[in-house]
């Protein structure tokens, strides 16, 4: 769709008028938006040079064509700066990966939302917050990039509550859900490199719940700290309980990460420990669920065995986010989805 053939609408130059005009057509997220004029969209597109009408992905359930131009339109609406556009384009590519199962993510009754984690050089250059308060509020890049993803899902993908999004209660993470990785304070290097990427910048998309806090201000012992995270992971209410392929993203604060590293623990050690400790009795899980999407070895466990909350230690993804203090968090998965980490293309 070129600018000439794109659909435009005329509204008064007033934020409330724009919000009302969009709401009348089922658009918007309920918050005021920046008017996507041609000039603003053109300026946004300059943030990621390329053919504006290239289709980055087709997004279900509406089968909407996410061109660079339409991604830019929604970025303007959300309040993004042009420097953020490469992150959004990469995130849309990730959302469309088959293993993401975006149709299911958008359609489910679960309150799942895509968490964006920005890695590498672009995080600093585009002003993302990886430190104190990274999950929000207060930082434009984090807030508006996450919001733009939601607007893209609402408008282009058609994930409108009701016809395109059956989430029973919805959730706050569906407004905006974006952080940057605190690579400067990660004792284990960057997450993207740990999964095989060596690009200067990358983005991870993980479709999960809002963060579950784990607080430990007493311990210097990694095991004691991680026991609290394991406790936050161990719940019958999470989809990870019946779905073995479900991942956990464990966002350690720098102080918790340092405690682990100072004791000689690697990123993999942290995941292995959580795999060992985040478990529930097989009998309890079998009593709670009619259907268990478990691995064959889990099915073979006797009722008195302790079953891991996920089917493999590699499903526990560990990285560093945040600033001073001793709060870490866990982001459980919707379940029938896998995270995707891809490079961010910059020019």
């Amino acid at each position: 769709m070129s600018a000439d053939s794109a659909t435009f609408t005329d509204v008064d130059d007033d934020p409330i008028a724009i919000m009302d005009a969009y709401a009348a057509r089922g658009w918007g997220d309920g918050l005021p938006m920046v008017a996507p004029t041609e000039a603003r969209v053109d300026a946004m597109l300059a943030g990621a040079p390329g053919d504006p009408d290239d289709v980055v992905a087709i997004l279900p359930p509406r089968s909407g064509a996410a061109t660079r131009r339409m991604i830019a339109v929604n970025a303007v609406l959300a309040g993004c700066a042009p420097a953020q556009l490469p992150v959004l384009i990469a995130a849309v590519r990730a959302l469309a990966a088959p293993e993401m199962n975006l149709r299911g993510v958008n359609a489910t009754t679960h309150p799942v939302a895509p968490l964006l984690i920005v890695h590498g050089e672009i995080a600093e250059r585009a002003g993302f917050n990886s430190g104190l308060g990274a999950f929000g509020p207060g930082n434009r890049a984090n807030a508006t990039t996450g919001r733009a993803v939601r607007l893209i899902l609402l408008h282009i993908a058609g994930a409108i509550p009701g016809p395109g999004d059956a989430s029973t209660q919805g959730g706050p993470a569906k407004y905006s859900f974006c952080v940057a990785e605190n690579m400067a304070e990660s004792p284990w290097g960057g997450y993207a490199r740990s999964v095989g990427l060596d690009s200067p910048s990358a983005v991870t998309v993980h479709c999960g719940e809002a963060p579950h806090n784990a607080h430990d201000m007493e311990s210097a012992d990694p095991a004691a700290i991680l026991d609290k995270l394991a406790s936050a992971m161990t719940s019958l209410g999470q989809n990870n309980a019946p779905i073995a392929q479900g991942e956990y993203f464990v966002a350690l604060c720098p102080e918790h990460a340092a405690a682990c590293a100072d004791a000689g623990w690697t990123r993999s050690d942290v995941a292995s420990y959580l795999f060992q400790k985040a478990r529930m009795p097989a009998s309890e899980l079998r009593a709670a669920f009619n259907l268990l999407a478990w691995e064959p070895w889990q099915r073979a466990l006797p009722d008195d065995a302790a079953v891991p909350m996920t089917g493999h230690p590699e499903n526990i993804k560990v990285l560093v986010v945040g600033g001073a203090g001793k709060h870490s968090c866990v982001v459980p998965s919707w379940g029938m989805t896998k995270s995707v980490t891809i490079p961010i293309e910059e020019h």
Partner: protein
């Protein structure tokens, strides 16, 4: 003020739907149970009612995960063994 609408065009259309079957007499009805609570019960009862009224037959139930597309082998069996499929129930 002129502003963009935010939704853009529809991309490549998914495959076309099959034409509806005009006569059910003698048809083989398949059930694709998405394993949501009560889906199997509801779909089986609908299939039996249709069969009673039309002389159709009900084939064994196939199952799929509610969050995923049906596997290729399930689709292949349904394609081979039934004429219509009941599915799509949610809790």
């Amino acid at each position: 003020m002129r502003i963009y609408t935010p939704d853009g065009e529809i991309g490549d259309a998914p495959g076309p739907l099959a034409a509806p079957r005009s006569v059910m007499s003698g048809a083989r009805i398949g059930i694709l149970d998405n394993t949501k609570p009560n889906a199997g019960v509801l779909l089986a009862q609908i299939a039996e009612r249709i069969a009673e009224r039309t002389g159709a037959t009900v084939s064994p139930v196939e199952t799929k995960n509610a969050a995923l597309a049906a596997p290729d082998d399930v689709i292949a069996r349904l394609e081979k063994e039934v004429d219509v499929v009941l599915t799509g129930s949610a809790d």
